[in-house]
């Protein structure tokens, strides 16, 4: 999938990224997340060696325990030295480590192209995706990308090769967010035991997406929701405006001083309800305001994995609104 880019969009993209400065920003992002691990939430069932605990116990060099040989065990795994000393047949058991495929799903609909001038929401989403891709790639996990935009989906299948993070970055740079499209269908063809990170504002098909993510989690997969919110959404302008939903032009609401308090209350309640519903499904939810550095969000997402999917109360508390 490749969005059609107009000259104006290219100018905006050029001005937004600033060419070299964008690469420098990405470089500093990767420097800041160096050493960050993203362990799987639970033991994985993969056979290929990797960094995550595997459900399988094999002949890894790191000894875990001995077990009495039973008929059917591989004789090659018998500890012959122990047999010679004790005249008992034991086999060596070790915790296997495996890889987990990581699929990053990013929302590229029109609601992410906000604010119009800076596209801060989309930039932060891209940085978070690149950061997560880099962290996953560090653990030799295959990293894939699905970009859901208004005109379709663009997909990079999970790869382990060296340049996959660059491919992800280039794929994101080629995209100008726009249009409207549900994200849930993008998860239809994914393996159930994948690790999926959804970076979105969840203003589209949030309910369907949560339902699908719950199915993935129930099947042994791992789903992380990264909720990107622009600063202007949290603190809208105080002057009178006619707020129009970029994905639905018919949805226009006057925004005056009297309606500001109601808006803030409703938006905060919706965010709370969204977070609690995702966590109730056993999913990971991370609130990511656009004003927060992407590296910190990446650390929080991966830290949420360490926390075993516990509610990210710290991020909620950090939300001043």
């Amino acid at each position: 999938m490749r969005e059609r880019r107009t000259a104006r969009d290219e100018d905006r993209q050029r001005g937004r990224d600033g060419g070299e400065s964008s690469r420098e920003t990405r470089g500093s992002l990767l420097d800041e997340i160096r050493g960050v691990k993203w362990p799987a939430l639970r033991s994985v069932a993969g056979a290929l060696p990797g960094a995550h605990h595997s459900r399988l116990r094999g002949a890894a060099p790191e000894l875990s325990e001995y077990r009495v040989y039973r008929q059917g065990d591989d004789p090659k795994r018998i500890d012959w030295k122990l047999l010679a000393r004790s005249d008992r047949a034991y086999i060596r058991l070790a915790d296997d480590r495996s890889i987990v495929s990581t699929m990053l799903v990013v929302d590229a609909t029109a609601s992410m192209a906000f604010p119009e001038r800076s596209l801060a929401k989309w930039r932060v989403a891209c940085d978070i995706v690149i950061g997560l891709a880099a962290v996953a790639h560090t653990s030799r996990d295959p990293v894939g990308l699905v970009i859901v935009g208004g005109s379709g989906m663009r997909q990079l299948p999970p790869r382990t090769r060296r340049g996959i993070v660059g491919e992800v970055a280039r794929a994101l740079d080629d995209i100008v967010p726009g249009g409207s499209r549900p994200i849930a269908p993008a998860m239809a063809g994914m393996q159930s035991r994948m690790r999926i990170a959804i970076v979105s504002d969840f203003l589209g098909d949030a309910a369907d997406l949560r339902r699908r993510a719950g199915e993935v989690a129930a099947a042994g997969g791992e789903v992380h929701a990264v909720h990107v919110v622009a600063e202007e959404e949290l603190d809208p302008p105080s002057r009178s405006i006619l707020a129009v939903d970029p994905e639905d032009a018919s949805l226009a609401r006057p925004f005056v001083a009297e309606s500001r308090a109601v808006y803030l209350e409703r938006f905060a309640a919706w965010r709370d309800e969204l977070a609690s519903s995702w966590r109730a499904e056993g999913l990971s939810y991370t609130f990511a305001p656009a004003s927060e550095p992407a590296s910190r969000v990446v650390r929080r997402v991966t830290g949420a994995a360490l926390g075993g999917g516990r509610p990210d109360t710290a991020s909620l508390r950090s939300d001043p609104r």
Binding site: F114, P237, L242, A252, R253, P254, V256, Y263
Partner: protein
């Protein structure tokens, strides 16, 4: 520039400021801004009151302010600052009355003259003096009667020329204002001049009350004509004697000296009158020109059956029957005249008491048409003919046309421009509404 009614200018300014304020604070559709979380804002009317740092619809605002300013300025009546020589004068010097009153005329004209004024001399003709000085007024006199109308025409022409140099021009007429100088056109010509006309009478005006004499009627008791003239309160500036019986030598002598004898026989036809072949009846009679030049002629008609038995002697016809035959004639006699009236008034009935007949008898009892010396017109007549100022509506269109606009035309031009601005504002507003829709 100043205003006749500055309160309108102040009101207009305040109203213009209010319009600007309304453009800054108005019901308008707020600016559209994309907001992905717009769904969380409560529903409310799309139009709301908002303040704008800079007013929108600048063309509309400019037209509205212009409209208000024009209307208020027109109502305020702008006056522009005057130039150095504010008022010029055209002095009409009447020298057509011989040397008798010339000294006073000369003195009055010299007192009114200022350098730069125009001078028009009136004698048998009217002419403007080129580059007049004070000595231009010292001139000879004539006894030929001039025409005030001609003098007004020349002075208006001179006034138009002078108006190019001065802010305002007035015509000053120095004259005794005798009746023979005035004619019916004088008042109309005066109305052509939009400015002021100041009259300086050099002699005392006639006392109409003192000089008026009651028409004397010689008749028998209960005479209908005497009753009609008495009811009319008939007075005359000249001497008029109405005779209902017969003319005596004394009457003839009196007429030769300038009196007017109205021979209106009550019964038998006097000598010299022709008896009609057959008596008939006329149903109306009209007096046409039985008035002197110094009095305004009024037509008077009486509609009633009159028995015609005699015809007046030949002479100037002053009254005619409905069929055109003469009913009254006038014959000059010395300085006076004898007016013969062949109208038989019935002694019974109230015809003589009707207003129409009273007016009719009053017109017949006027002094002689061609007789009498010229007399100064009264102040009332003079003010009617030559008023100091005229109302703008009575000024003939194009009067005093020159390349400078009269001050009264500026408010009209402003109101016209205001109407144009209002139409333009309507069009712009409709265009803006269509664009918004």
């Amino acid at each position: 520039m100043s205003f006749v009614s500055p309160v309108f200018a102040w009101l207009g300014g305040a109203l213009a400021l209010a319009v600007v304020a309304l453009h800054l604070l108005a019901w308008r559709r707020p600016p559209t801004l994309p907001l992905p979380t717009a769904r969380f804002a409560p529903e409310a009317p799309v139009r709301t009151v908002s303040r704008a740092v800079r007013p929108t619809d600048l063309a509309l605002l400019a037209l509205r302010v212009l409209l208000i300013v024009l209307v208020s300025a027109a109502l305020a009546g702008p006056r522009f600052s005057s130039r150095a020589h504010a008022t010029g004068r055209v002095i009409v010097v009447d020298r057509s009355h011989g040397p008798q009153g010339w000294a006073s005329i000369n003195r009055a004209a010299r007192a009114a003259f200022r350098p730069g004024d125009a001078v028009v001399l009136l004698d048998s003709a009217a002419r403007e003096v080129r580059n007049p000085t004070l000595d231009s007024i010292v001139t000879t006199t004539t006894s030929e009667t001039g025409s005030m109308s001609a003098a007004l025409v020349v002075s208006i022409r001179a006034g138009v020329e002078l108006r190019r140099k001065r802010d305002s021009v007035e015509i000053v007429v120095v004259s005794p204002f005798e009746s023979d100088e005035m004619d019916a056109a004088s008042a109309a010509i005066r109305r052509v001049w939009p400015g002021t006309v100041r009259t300086i009478r050099v002699d005392a005006p006639p006392n109409e009350t003192a000089s008026a004499r009651r028409v004397s009627v010689r008749s028998g008791p209960g005479d209908a004509i005497a009753a009609a003239l008495a009811l009319a309160g008939a007075t005359s500036v000249g001497a008029v004697r109405v005779i209902r019986d017969a003319i005596t030598p004394a009457d003839t002598t009196w007429a030769r000296e300038g009196g007017a004898i109205v021979m209106w026989p009550a019964a038998a036809a006097p000598e010299g009158w022709q008896t009609r072949a057959g008596a008939d009846t006329a149903f109306a009679v009209t007096v046409t020109s039985a008035a002197s030049a110094s009095h305004t002629a009024r037509r008077a008609t009486v509609v009633a059956p009159f028995a015609r038995r005699v015809a007046p002697p030949s002479g100037r016809v002053v009254a005619r029957w409905a069929d055109g035959e003469p009913a009254a004639t006038e014959t000059a006699l010395g300085a006076g005249c004898i007016r013969s009236v062949a109208i038989t008034v019935p002694s019974t009935g109230d015809l003589a008491l009707t207003p129409a007949f009273r007016l009719f008898a009053e017109q017949l009892a006027r002094p002689c048409i061609g007789g009498g010396a010229s007399m100064p017109v009264s102040d009332s007549v003079l003010s009617a003919i030559l008023p100091v100022s005229v109302v703008p509506d009575s000024v003939v269109a194009g009067a005093g046309a020159d390349d400078t606009r009269s001050p009264s035309s500026i408010p009209a031009l402003m109101l016209g421009a205001a109407i144009a601005a209002a139409l333009a504002e309507l069009l712009v507003r409709r265009g803006a509404a269509n664009a918004t829709a």
